[in-house]
């Protein structure tokens, strides 16, 4: 479903992604972790070309990102993205946030879109806040609206870039619950997160990154109990101790 082939990316002179090979099969959940600055957010942002790559190729649902014939706007519609800072549109209600793309990109009529929006808000557990503006919602609620917005185009893949890092601790679970539900429904997901409990529960594939490289990949149990690489071990011991 998502395949990285020898992907390289630079920010100026800084080589942020180095020869990345990486694969997520349909229905799989890949969890990407690593210290800050390791390139994990960049990696996930490359998948829908929020960041361009300089060499190599990324193939998403059979469409190559480097192929000039690929319609990038169409590809983005197939991929939902959830940001660390939510990035909800502050001038629109929760419902309007969710249905903007279906209305404008899919040209859905208003009634159909409303119905879809309410259904998705119900799915993330905040149907009663449909008419609230983002500023009136808690961080956890905002992030759930953002997930509903990501789902509104009926994507085949969902990407999450540190979805709980900006949240107060007591709100993390309500967001993770929604993500678990999606994972169990069989959504293909790539998640950058340090929530190791969540990773252990739903990930099929763990990826550890450091300094722009993938250091280690593996199934979660193996990854946690017997990490092969010294750096992985060090990183895990740091984050698991709190």
């Amino acid at each position: 479903m998502i395949r990285f082939e020898k992907v390289n990316k630079w920010f100026g002179k800084h080589h942020v992604l180095q020869d990345i090979d990486f694969h997520v099969a349909a229905g799989d959940v890949a969890v990407i972790c690593g210290p800050s600055g390791s390139g994990k957010s960049t990696l996930i942002r490359c998948i829908n070309r929020l960041e361009p790559i300089q060499s190599g190729d990324i193939v998403v649902d059979g469409m190559s990102l480097t192929d000039r014939k690929t319609n990038i706007t169409r590809l983005r519609a197939e991929v939902g993205f959830v940001f660390q800072q939510f990035n909800l549109y502050p001038h629109m209600t929760a419902l309007e946030n969710v249905i903007l793309a279906p209305l404008k990109v899919r040209k859905m009529n208003r009634n159909e879109a409303d119905e879809l929006g309410r259904e998705l808000l119900e799915k993330v557990g905040i149907q009663e806040k449909a008419l609230a503006y983002p500023a009136q919602l808690s961080g956890g609620q905002q992030q759930r609206v953002a997930i509903a917005r990501g789902l509104a185009m009926r994507p085949k893949i969902m990407l999450f870039d540190e979805p709980t890092s900006a949240l107060d601790p007591e709100m993390i679970n309500e967001v993770l619950d929604v993500m678990r539900k999606l994972a169990f429904e069989g959504m293909t997901m790539a998640v950058v997160t340090h929530e190791m409990g969540f990773a252990r529960e739903v990930a099929n594939n763990m990826v550890f990154m450091d300094e722009g490289k993938i250091i280690e990949t593996g199934d979660p149990e193996q990854f946690y109990t017997h990490p092969e690489n010294e750096r992985t071990r060090l990183f895990l011991s740091k984050i698991l101790s709190h």
Binding site: R76, A77, V105
Partner: protein, 220 residues
């Protein structure tokens, strides 16, 4: 003597109203055209097409770096030498539109840049195209920052329109000059001219302040 002049001045009121109408027409038309131009140029400048951006910088910097008086001279006296002959009224509209457009462009570009980049990314990620992102996500948010200085710019435009009197258009300012030749009571004549400008500008100043307060109440 003073009361004699005053009654003469009241007799000239229709003349003043005609001047007011001219000022109103010139600044109103250039305000609308300048706004359209400024928004187009401002949005284009936020685009990533480099040559286009440089051309627009040259335009904006030239308009902002030279006095309007010089610009209207160029349009009205110099362009005819190159075969572009405009009557006074279209010359005033043309030059004032270009002038206002440059300032409005800066205001619009600034407003767009003030919108968090995450907003565009979020819109991009859901598959909205460039136009849709601008129309539904960026501009509605940018408008809040744009409105107070935009209305402030309208006030400047109305006042700067007084310069068109130098190419013979009978706006309020020129009515003042013509009247003071008959009624040599300058303070009275130009007092009236000032009052007329003020009566158009002051509501706009209040409007701009109101937008400003609303912006701050919403947390900038």
């Amino acid at each position: 003597m003073w009361s004699f002049y005053f009654s003469q001045l009241t007799d000239s009121i229709p003349f003043f109203l005609k001047g007011l109408w001219m000022t109103f027409k010139i600044s109103g038309i250039s305000l609308v055209l300048g706004t359209v131009l400024g928004f187009c140029v401002g949005i284009a400048r936020a685009s990533k097409v480099k040559p286009l951006r440089y051309i627009l910088y040259v335009y904006v910097d030239f308009m902002r770096g030279t006095p309007y008086l010089v610009q209207i001279f160029i349009v009205f006296f110099i362009l005819p030498e190159w075969g572009i002959q405009l009557a006074a009224f279209p010359a005033a509209i043309f030059s004032l539109t270009l002038y206002a457009g440059a300032y409005i462009c800066e205001i619009v570009a600034g407003g767009i840049e003030a919108v968090d980049a995450g907003q565009t990314e979020a819109a991009m990620a859901t598959g909205l195209n460039r136009f849709q992102r601008m129309r539904y996500v960026v501009m509605p948010q940018a408008m809040r920052t744009i409105l107070p200085p935009l209305v402030g710019q309208y006030v400047l435009l109305i006042k700067d329109s007084s310069i068109v009197s130098v190419i013979g258009l009978t706006d309020i300012t020129r009515v003042g000059w013509l009247t003071v030749q008959r009624i040599p009571e300058g303070i009275m004549v130009f007092g009236l001219v000032g009052i007329l400008y003020f009566s158009i500008c002051y509501p706009l100043i209040l409007l701009s302040n109101w937008f400003e307060r609303r912006l701050r109440a919403q947390g900038g």
